[in-house]
């Protein structure tokens, strides 16, 4: 089977790649109009009415050649504005969007004027950010807002929550009319004498109203397509437009009957979730599983060919890339490269545990090869029965260097979800959220990526009696002066106390933000797609989902482990240096301590399959996880730890002084659970062995291993086989997730010099891929530095 790309998707790709991102004020204007009219009404209804107002009035368009339709903003690749979450930073940064170093957006004078005059003044004092800060108690606020922070739950303070997976099966198979019916029945059955019913009624009505607006919204596309078809001169395109009109007349209101309709519903759901809330990391269920029955029936009936199915998939891929959201500068640096984190997962086992790779799974890989844009962030589930044929195709694509897809291990993730209390069928349905987090469509309100937690800063504070070395502030508890640490264990104890203190305050802050979302941001559309909301009579933001987690991730396992190993070996075992000497060197950023710095380099580092230091890394990961799971969240669920940084290891490194492992002040931290940059000297097999020693099941919100490969060692078929074996081995050893950058350091250097020639160079950043030239310069450097695995 060859891989032929249609001229249509080639053209669409070219077009969308070159569109300049802009800010679109339309949604902001519409929600403001609506909110002005609904003052005083219950919030769920206000949100439903606002959604209705937006969907009936926003500009819609169908671009030349598109088959799958549905747009979030008045222009392609434009970001809508969500004044209800925050206006502060937008107001401050709006004029800088075009000049800032990362994720640039063009803002016209007209947009600027509209937002500043018509939108933002209304929202003063009414946003999530302002309310959340009111809920945060003073001491937690102090623990949070130091000049160099240990934890940072900024994402949900300044954006919607996102980071969840809705149920995509129900809208495809039952249609929104089916969902409306469920809610209408529930409404009829309400016993209004029950006090609970008062709020339930409002909730049900908010969902029904929103779902109806969604169906009407699709009908607008149907009408637009029909209009366009009447003007269309090209006979083929005219037929296509009439087909689009048919499809949008039918779905998502009614159950899909065809592959095309199922794909169109899939896209409407994905897009509308992101129009309701500006949450990022909005990810999908297994597309290949959802559309497969339609594909199979139509192919057997001779109504669909692989070529036309693939073309539709490629059109869907392009829609994912078209979607945009805007972060403030800080978050844009954390998640640089216009990363929306929309993961689309394929492959994996079915509900009975059998491998479920099907023909559509293969077509998706072909579409990925052809389209090769940063979004969707394609994830592939691998299990012990994944066919080698499929893994080979996946690895071959990885070897070409786009960093996609990234790979997830069914054989570890499913058991870890069972341990979280899910049942077997649910666990087997998992797909990936945002970066590496597990979700189950319509079951788990994950609050993944709820906060970043800097483990390395905690060690710095432990070595300085709670004082930040960069600012001199007393940030953490006084856990003892260096002179008191006469054993290695005492250092560990001080470190643990710092972690305990900050984890506790972090959970309080995350819960405060959670409560602000509950008060101000009910999500009736999303709730319609969470199975238990109807039964519970609760919006998803209030804990309507079956499982509710809040998941903050620890960053810097390798730096802490390597640093502790240095202290253990050089100070306590070999007694070659005193703690005071090492601290002096750290204070001087190792300037003037060349022999010490060299001796530090010689201490074994995490990532080389050396048990002694790897055990410390295991301890660091476990201690953080054990601490996080102690806490309850604000939606009746619990906290759930992960160990991955997105791309925050670079900015978080800016908050930490020099460390005993020889890392200099303000340098990037290690990325995910990967070894520190340059510390892995023994190649990829040793890295895999080391990283697999961590308790990945315990870090049940995900771990991230990033491996960089030189393209030279992935040239031949044999080498590709060996690469596959590496993946299989990592997963057999118990790894969670692995991703690869297969691009030579020289190529990246070239791209820095001549960005215009490398516009298409995709690289793996963290849990996502981005165009290299779109990244912040310090992140570019970090990617180049990550050890390039090369044997000779």
């Amino acid at each position: 089977m060859g891989n032929v790309q249609s001229l249509r998707t080639k053209k669409l790709r070219q077009w969308i790649r070159d569109v300049i991102p802009q800010i679109c004020p339309e949604r902001a204007v519409l929600i403001t109009e609506s909110f002005k009219q609904t003052e005083g009404e219950p919030m769920p209804l206000r949100r439903a009415k606002a959604m209705e107002h937006i969907l009936s009035n926003m500009t819609i368009w169908i671009h030349e050649g598109e088959l799958i339709v549905g747009n979030m903003a008045s222009m392609p690749r434009s970001a809508p504005v969500f004044p209800e979450t925050t206006t502060n930073w937008v107001k401050e940064e709006l004029h800088t969007f075009w000049e800032r170093p990362v994720d640039k957006f063009f803002v016209t004078d007209e947009t600027y004027r509209i937002l500043m005059e018509q939108v933002f003044p209304y929202w003063e004092g009414k946003t999530i950010e302002e309310l959340a800060m009111e809920y945060v108690p003073t001491d937690s606020r102090q623990a949070w807002l130091a000049s160099h922070r240990v934890f940072n739950p900024m994402l949900y303070l300044q954006n919607g929550v996102g980071h969840m997976i809705a149920n995509y099966h129900t809208p495809v198979t039952c249609g929104f009319n089916g969902i409306i019916k469920q809610y209408e029945d529930a409404l009829t059955e309400l016993d209004m004498a029950e006090p609970d019913s008062i709020e339930k009624r409002i909730f049900y009505e908010s969902v029904i109203r929103t779902c109806k607006a969604v169906i009407e919204f699709a009908h607008r596309y149907s009408e637009l397509a029909l209009e366009l078809s009447q003007e269309e001169e090209d006979e083929n395109r005219r037929k296509e437009l009439m087909k689009i009109a048919d499809v949008c007349k039918r779905v998502p209101g009614e159950p899909a009957r065809t592959f095309w309709e199922a794909t169109q519903t899939f896209w409407f759901v994905q897009m509308l979730i992101q129009l309701e809330t500006d949450g990022t990391g909005v990810s999908t269920e297994r597309y290949d599983e959802i559309v497969y029955p339609y594909y199979k029936r139509e192919v057997e009936a001779g109504e669909l060919t692989d070529e036309s199915a693939q073309e539709l998939i490629e059109c869907l891929w392009i829609k994912f890339f078209e979607t945009m959201n805007v972060y403030n500068l800080e978050n844009a640096t954390y998640f640089s490269g216009y990363s929306l984190g929309q993961i689309l997962t394929i492959g994996g086992v079915d509900k009975y545990g059998r491998d479920d790779t099907n023909e559509v799974t293969y077509l998706c890989m072909k579409a990925e090869e052809n389209i090769n844009l940063p979004q969707p962030n394609l994830a592939v589930r691998i299990n012990r029965n994944t066919p080698d044929k499929f893994l080979h195709i996946v690895c071959r694509h990885i070897s070409k260097g786009s960093g996609k897809p990234h790979l997830f291990n069914d054989d570890v993730i499913i058991p870890s979800l069972l341990a979280d209390g899910l049942d077997m069928e649910e666990a087997r349905r998992y797909t990936a959220i945002g970066c590496v987090e597990p979700g189950v469509g319509g079951k788990i309100d994950a609050w993944a990526n709820a906060s970043m937690f800097n483990l390395v800063k905690c060690l710095e504070l432990a070595l300085n009696d709670g004082v930040c070395v960069l600012s001199g502030e007393q940030m953490g508890p006084k856990t003892g002066k260096l002179s008191n640490f006469d054993t290695y264990e005492k250092i560990l104890k001080a470190y643990e106390e710092q972690v305990e203190y900050f984890v506790s305050h972090m959970t309080i802050c995350v819960n405060a933000i959670d409560i602000a979302h509950q008060k101000l941001m009910p999500l009736p559309f999303l709730s319609a797609l969470f199975d238990d909301c109807v039964k519970k009579g609760k919006d998803v933001s209030q804990g309507g989902a079956k499982y509710n987690f809040s998941a903050p991730q620890g960053v810097g396992v390798a730096d802490v482990a390597d640093s502790l190993m240095v202290l253990k070996q050089l100070v306590f075992e070999e007694k070659r240096y005193t703690l005071a000497e090492i601290k002096d060197a750290m204070q001087a950023d190792f300037e003037g301590f060349p022999i010490l710095h060299r001796d530090i380099q010689a201490v074994p580092k995490y990532g080389n399959d050396c048990d002694e230091v790897d055990e410390i890394a295991v301890y660091v990961g476990r201690q953080y996880c054990d601490e996080v799971v102690k806490y309850a969240n604000a939606r009746g669920g619990s906290f759930k730890p992960g160990l991955y940084p997105v791309s925050a290891n670079v900015p978080m490194g800016m908050d930490v002084g020099a460390m005993p492992n020889g890392r200099k002040s303000r340098q990037p931290l290690a990325d995910g659970v990967s070894p520190s940059a340059g510390a892995d000297m023994k190649g990829p097999t040793a890295v895999i062995k080391s990283v697999a020693k961590l308790d990945h099941m315990k870090a049940s919100n995900g771990t991230l291993l990033n491996q960089k490969f030189n393209p030279d060692i992935l040239k031949t078929d044999e080498q590709l086989e060996e690469f596959m074996a590496l993946v299989r081995a990592y997963f057999e050893l118990g790894g969670w997730h692995i991703q690869f950058n297969v691009v030579a350091a020289e190529t990246l250097r070239e791209a820095q010099k001549h960005p215009e020639e490398f516009k298409n160079l995709l690289v793996r950043v963290a849990g996502y891929s981005a165009f290299f030239v779109d990244l912040d310069i310090s992140l570019q450097e970090n990617i180049i530095e990550r050890t390039e695995q090369k044997t000779f």
């Binding site: 060299r598 044999e718 590496l726 050893l733």
Partner: protein, 304 residues
């Protein structure tokens, strides 16, 4: 039992089937002028000097008990070999790692425990351990014991050899070796001697012997432009390979210059300054010619 090892390289996908770990053993009776591992020539640990890392702090000069280290023409350092006791005090006192010791004593057990770590990868790919060098068989007793231990641990073995080995050593070791990666550098005895320092007679004899024992062999030819790449030599080598039933394939290893920097670090002269790496087209046409003349012989190009 101890041997001198100068590197253990994991995830090697070039030297034998599957994912392998290469154990590089120090010491070689040959002195091939193109050798990219010149640090492997001598049998004892050696000190190398990397000029670009030198801070010029003079710690080495001060610490040397016999004044073997000296300034080198105003920049960098030079070690006078005739004085050096190989005590390592200059290395210990070097803050930047500019002075480094190459090669260390390892016991068979130490090597085994390091290579065992990757056994999951060998298992998955039909890989294993390759002994390389230097000439591994030159550390005969160590190698014999190491190979025996590897076989006992059910790890597949390969040895990359120059073939310049005593027959007794081969006799003792051959059954513990699953695959021989056997270098044939030149078919002409005189040329061979001129560029490697030794005659090729023993090498060709041993190849015949291993073939007669039924040992699996991959012949490897380093392709050095202007030295052994001319068709006549290639043809003769392939003719030889064709005649041996146990030779499964011939691998061509195009000359490269990645080792040149090491000569400077070892204060050695690199004699092949004038030779360039072969061009892609040259290799392609050579491969084509081989295919036409020796269609029965499996031939592969291995890049560094």
């Amino acid at each position: 039992m101890k041997g001198i090892v100068f590197n253990i390289q994991k995830y090697s996908v070039q030297d034998g089937p599957g994912i392998r770990t290469i154990v590089f053993l120090k010491g070689c009776p040959l002195r091939c002028k193109w050798c990219s591992n010149p640090e492997s020539g001598e049998f004892c640990p050696q000190i190398i000097f990397q000029r670009k890392l030198c801070l010029d702090c003079r710690s080495c000069i001060v610490s040397c008990p016999v004044k073997a280290v000296a300034d080198d023409r105003g920049y960098g350092k030079v070690i006078h070999k005739e004085l050096c006791l190989n005590c390592g005090s200059c290395v210990e006192n070097c803050p930047s790692g500019a002075l480094k010791r190459i090669g260390r004593e390892m016991t068979v057990e130490e090597v085994i425990s390091e290579v065992e770590k990757d056994s999951i990868f060998y298992r998955k790919t039909g890989g294993g351990v390759t002994l390389s060098g230097g000439e591994p068989f030159a550390q005969a007793e160590f190698v014999e014991e190491l190979l025996g231990q590897l076989k006992e641990n059910r790890i597949r073995t390969a040895v990359e050899t120059s073939g310049y080995v005593s027959r007794q050593v081969l006799e003792r070791c051959k059954d513990k070796v699953d695959l021989f990666l056997y270098d044939i550098k030149h078919m002409d005895e005189k040329v061979h001697k001129a560029y490697t320092g030794v005659s090729n007679r023993r090498i060709l004899d041993n190849l015949k012997y291993l073939n007669s024992c039924g040992k699996k062999i991959w012949i490897r030819i380093p392709l050095i432009p202007r030295i052994n790449m001319e068709w006549d030599n290639i043809r003769r080598t392939f003719k030889l390979a064709e005649g041996f039933a146990c030779v499964e394939r011939v691998e061509l290893l195009p000359y490269h210059r990645y080792g040149v920097g090491k000569y400077e670090q070892l204060s050695m002269d690199y004699e092949l300054k004038h030779i360039k790496a072969p061009m892609e087209e040259e290799l392609k046409s050579l491969l084509k010619m081989i295919g036409e003349h020796f269609p029965q012989v499996k031939c592969i190009i291995r890049y560094h």
